[in-house]
Amino acid sequence: MKVVTWILAATVLVAGPALAATPKDTVVMAKAIDDIISLDPAESFEFSGSEAVGNIYERLITYDLKDVSKLRGELAESWSAGADGKTYTFKMRKGVKFHSGNPMTAQDAAYSLQRAVIMNKTPGFILTQFGFTKENAKEKIRATDDQTLVIETGEQVAPTFFYYCLTAVIGGIVDMKTVQAHEKDGDFGNEWLKTNSAGTGPFKLVSWKASESYTLERWDGYWGTKALPRRVVVRHVPEAATQRLLLEKGDIDYARNLSKDQIDAVRGNANIRLQQAHKGSIFYVSLNQKNPTLAKPEVREALKWLTDYASIEESLLRGLYVVHQAFLPKGFLGALDDKPYRFDLAKAKALLAKAGVPDGFSVTMDVRNTFPTNDIAQAIQANWAKAGVKVELIPGDGKQVITKYRARNHDIYIGSWGPDYQDPHTNAETFAMNTDNTDATKSKTLAWRNSWDIPDMTKQTQAAVKERDAKKREATYQAIQREHQRISPFIIMFQQIEVAAHTKDVDGFVMGPSFENDLYAGIKK
């Protein structure tokens, strides 16, 4: 025990100066940010990256965070769609300055969108799906004068579809002159913009150290309401227990990745508050239709009745997910709140008998070895076993499970899906479209990954994205979702809610429906 005394003595000696609380003008967050690979808006596509970019850059238009169906101008003051259904004209806001001090014009907007199309990084499809290509970008997206931006889409689409896509991170407007000055070998300044900022938003980027931290600083020349904190520091703290400890000690203002147990634990702490918002992520189980048993309609339905949604939420996910059973999450145009399924053993057994497997069957499920996926998988395993369905869980690393899923070699996949942009088509396309069920297809949607061949529903979904009447469009998506709930091989179970815990001395962090809407500007300390 001598050593312990020695160590104690040693720690006393070096305790040194008293611990500093976080500086008054600086907001400090602990968050897992090792997913960031770039802070260039034309390239960033990860949750944490989106959040940072959303505070640095602004887009032409955005939506009301409380009611996503209401669009409003951000860097565009007004906009209109032409009678041909393809030409869109944006009038730019005057008096907006970039972090460099350069005035923002329609030229910058045209350059930013052209750049995103031509570079065509991972999120590039959000724009290229409107018919823009490397070759035609400069002609289809153009500034006719300093205040006017004209964009021509390839074919007629629902205007709302185009607008919502422009609200995505990739629609962020960059400072043309600054970015061009940092261009290397025709890379559109991508290399430089990964770790630097050239936007108009309320914050500019001071530094980003991969898997360590990023720091934002208030942009005092901001055209709108200026940000309250002078600095925001987001530190990579991968361990949730560590985040909680830091928060309780007051060494950070916000803990962003607390797990359910920690949320329950801090609930009783008078110095800590919780805030939450619905996020777009959907948690689901999918059944590969290459497996002949899973391909039987009765089996698909039976498994939906065999899953105990309510008790999984209650015992595992409280504060992280809520029950949701349609592919459009709350906060989207056309979202459906119907929850037709609950745990019903008798119904499930009857359906299994009808399918010719009255005593159940054996099947495998590939499970990402992280919370909450493996916990939910175990709960489902227990649920289904009640009707004799024996699930063998195959644990794996995330990338490994995804590789197998994309190769369609799984029986059952369990995981989450987050929308790519704030338009219903993003989820409709992946859950309810499969244009070509062969291995050679170009469009590897989730429906394709589960080998679910659905020519009729694919047509319906394709039609919805062209519907010019917003009300009719909404109704079509709801009809597709009802059918989808009934017949699809997807057991959609939960919608994510994001919870942030903060000390009682700070407030004003805004959490919107998408990660780029998590805004720091209003945080008061």
Binding site: V4, P17, I37, A210, S211, T242, L245, R406, D420
Partner: protein, 341 residues
């Protein structure tokens, strides 16, 4: 008949040959492991949602459509030219990444080894002298605990007690946010940089951050060093020259600490060097619990994402450390070996 240049050059060439072969083998094995794990490295680069065209383009860019041997050959040629490639995860050159994460590990590992050696060797000696008595038993319990307690649990408990409850040390991370970026990095080791710059407040803060994770890692090496010292010392104390020294009337303290300990220094140096090298690889669990952005976290997360450039780069660094420390301990033998003096 061997001429002088041959006598000098031959051992040098032999060492160089061994080192080169070791490196080649190391690289080849790591490279192959990276290619046989069931993870698609293209997905790691472009993400799960990338459309087919982007996927194909990146696959070409990464050279993954080529046969394996060709991929390895290209990689080898680049490494020889000093180009370790780019990490997919951080999109930085691997060398720049390692330059960033390694100092954090170096800082932690060095303090940990100092603690381990400063406490472990005396404990081992005491245990050997008091063989079978209470002190020996107590030290055995302490070092067995060091072996068997999971390090992440120890880390969390340490944080809870010394940081959470008692407030004796600073929390996770390398430095308080208030002191962040105050000192321009020269070596990247914050304690060294701040001392060089005369920023003592930063120095104390960094020390207060490092002391807990280093004590926990140090405890592990302490356990090993103490046990090894004990068994070396036991063997040494049974030697005839020890008896002779005692008969000659030398004080017990001199016999133990000077003569016997002096003779076990040579094998001990190997033990310490290996412990140090192990810590320099980075310790994933400790780094995760303490939000310490070091080499362990870097290599592990790269490996899990099939980010092979980063993994291979990290492997070369770790390999260099082991080989370097081995050569160094060979040199140190000559300095401390009484026969060489």
């Amino acid at each position: 008949m061997t001429s002088l240049p041959v006598r000098v050059l031959w051992p040098v060439a032999r060492v160089a040959g061994t080192v080169t072969l070791t490196f080649l083998g190391l690289l080849l094995v790591t490279f192959l492991i990276g290619r046989v794990v069931p993870i698609d490295p293209v997905l790691a680069a472009v993400g799960d949602r990338a459309p087919v065209e982007v996927y194909q383009r990146v696959k070409q860019e990464l050279g993954l459509h080529l046969p394996l041997w060709q991929q390895f050959w290209i990689y080898l040629r680049k490494v020889l030219a000093g180009d370790f490639g780019r990490s997919v995860l951080t999109s930085n050159p691997v060398l720049a990444d390692i330059r960033r994460v390694f100092p954090a590990t170096l800082e932690l590992a060095t303090v940990a080894t100092l603690i381990g050696v400063a406490l472990g060797i005396p404990m081992g000696v005491v245990a050997a002298v008091a063989r079978g008595r209470l002190a020996d038993q107590a030290i055995r319990v302490v070092s067995l605990l060091g072996y068997s307690v999971p390090v992440f649990w120890l880390g969390l408990m340490g944080l809870l007690l010394f940081y959470g409850r008692l407030g004796w040390v600073a929390g996770p991370g390398r430095i308080d946010v208030a002191f962040d970026d105050l000192v321009t990095p020269v070596t990247g080791v914050i304690m060294l940089d701040s001392a060089l710059a005369g920023e003592w407040e930063v120095f104390w803060n960094a020390l207060s951050h490092v002391i807990l994770p280093a004590s926990i890692l140090g405890y592990l090496s302490l356990a090993y060093v103490a046990r090894m010292t004990r068994s070396f010392m036991l063997a040494e104390l049974g030697q005839e020259y020890v008896t002779t020294a005692r008969i000659k009337g030398l004080s017990e303290r001199r016999v133990v600490w000077r003569h016997a300990l002096g003779n076990v220094m040579v094998p001990l140096i190997t033990v310490v060097a290996l412990t140090y090298a192990n810590l320099l690889e980075g310790s994933v669990l400790t780094e995760t619990v303490f939000a310490w952005p070091g080499l362990g976290q870097y290599i592990t997360s790269s490996l899990l994402s099939a980010d092979m450039n980063a993994v291979l780069g990290g492997t070369i660094v770790v390999g260099t450390i082991f080989i370097g420390l081995n050569l160094l301990s060979d040199l140190l033998y000559r300095l401390v070996d009484p026969r060489a003096q």
